[in-house]
Amino acid sequence: MITINEITIVVDGREIIYDYSEQIPAGSITAIVGPNGSGKSTLLAAIAGDIAPTKGTITIDGLHPILTAPAQLAQIRAVAIQNQIYTLGYTVKQIIEMAGPAEEVMRSLELTPLADRPVTTLSGGEAQRVSIAAAIAQKTPVLFLDEPLAAQDVRSRKRIIEVLKKLAEEGVSVVVVAHSSESELTWADKVIKQLL
């Protein structure tokens, strides 16, 4: 369970999120939607422990992300950021194994044929799937994905949604930041639109 309690986030003097509260239950898919600059990625960064809210508190299963050591935090939440850039030529399998066991997740996201390819040679969509696969491989009870479908073709989108649904059925809290309209997010259990 993720509990967001009356948080306000100010970045460079600008109020991005004001007095916002929410509860995200375990075993569900929650989509945070909104236009550019609406604060959805900022909210995700705060829940993930990347930034501290200016006011209010966030807890994941009772733990405050910002006060938790990185190694412990990595056991309760995983994050796939948008536009992950790979600079060194590790193979797809090596990248995923840095986060956790690779075989099963590579199979489910159809990455097995790319296992030995250097990540520096992948297309944007393939690299994004590697980033999602690495986050899933961490096997955490909470999974955050920033725009996971943005660079994907129809087949890959369908595959990723299937995998996320299966994870939610297994009890994982999946939180997705998306640009999409609400009608495209019928696969999500809950859609959060208003942050300010």
Partner: protein, 323 residues
């Protein structure tokens, strides 16, 4: 075969380096297997070649630490100010009479100077915003240039023989190495190498960027600090004993990555071998091509390393992709 070629080349180069010199060694092979039998061989050449091996391995590993800690292909001890800091730390300690060049004390002062200068680069690059590769390189070049200028000014103003010349601090030399010098640089190489080996899996994760490394459980500032301590020890040991030798820290890790891939734990040994090879070959050339004069070794390492690096980057460029 390609994968063991650098190790084989290193063994051959080491024997050639011991054999080649201004004085001919009579009965070379029997002298080589009879410790102490030939003074030139055992007091001068072998210590010098061992020093070249250790210094080369140290500078190469230092480059690997710098590139890993900064996630930046251009990061190397000279660019981050580490080398200049080690020179300044040693020069000040030698001039104040606390230590002699090549002593363990000089190495400690060199390592402290290296750590202080590198920390200054990171602090200044981080001052106004998050650490960026661009800011790090620009600030590092500025810090390095400023400290190098101070080293030049200070060493020009004194006449003490053990203060060494500007040329020594800028281009390095193994000409004055003695057996006593080997203890200190062996310690810094072993300790620095061990730290590098221990943190190498974290450096793999750090290469994914600070945010992703943090997400998979890496304490980014801590890993970076440990890498900088290893870097400073390695550079402090090498520079305080033989001066600055250019290009090894940049070229050796890149050459190793092209041959062996990016996994840092594999790269520790291979980078050290390639660095040692470059310095042993450069030192042999520096003292043999213009006899009886000795050329600055830093010039030879640049001449050797640069074409190799250019060739590798031109032929196969998917190892390190720039942003």
């Amino acid at each position: 075969m390609k994968k063991i070629a650098p190790a084989i080349a290193l063994v051959i180069a080491s024997f050639v380096a011991i054999y080649v010199g201004s004085a001919q060694i009579d009965n070379f092979w029997s002298a080589l297997f009879s410790p102490g039998s030939n003074e030139i061989l055992w007091q001068i050449r072998i210590p010098r070649v061992i020093a070249a091996l250790i210094v080369g391995a140290s500078l190469a590993l230092a480059g690997l630490m710098a590139q890993g800690a900064c996630s930046n292909a251009l990061a190397e001890p000279s660019i981050l100010g580490t080398t200049a800091g080690a020179s300044l730390g040693t020069v000040i300690a030698v001039l104040t009479g606390i230590v002699q060049v090549g002593s363990v004390g000089a190495i400690a002062c060199g390592a402290l100077g290296a750590l202080a200068a590198t920390s200054l680069t990171f602090k200044l690059a981080n001052l106004r915003s998050q650490l960026s590769s661009f800011a790090l390189i620009i600030v590092g070049i500025a810090v390095s240039a400023s400290i190098t200028a101070i080293v030049g000014l200070v060493s020009s103003m004194v006449t003490r023989a053990d203060a060494r010349s500007i040329s020594f601090w800028n281009f390095g030399s193994l000409a004055l190495i003695t057996r006593d010098n080997l203890v200190g640089i062996s310690i810094t190489a072993l300790v620095g190498g061990f730290i590098a080996w221990k943190i190498s899996p974290s450096l793999d994760r750090l290469s994914l960027g600070d945010a992703t490394a943090f997400h998979i459980g890496i304490d980014v500032p801590r890993v970076r600090l440990i890498a900088l301590v290893a870097l400073s020890l390695l550079v402090g040991g090498a520079v305080s004993t033989v001066g600055s030798i250019a290009f090894i820290g940049l070229a050796a890790p890149h050459i190793a990555r092209f041959i062996y891939g990016p996994i840092h734990r594999n790269l520790i040994v291979h980078t050290a071998i390639i660095g040692a090879l470059l310095v042993v070959v450069a030192d042999t050339l520096s003292r043999s091509v213009a006899q009886p004069n000795e050329l600055p070794i830093g010039l030879i390492t640049s001449l050797l390393g640069a074409p190799v690096l250019i060739a590798l980057v031109t032929v196969k460029n998917n190892v390190w992709k720039t942003q």
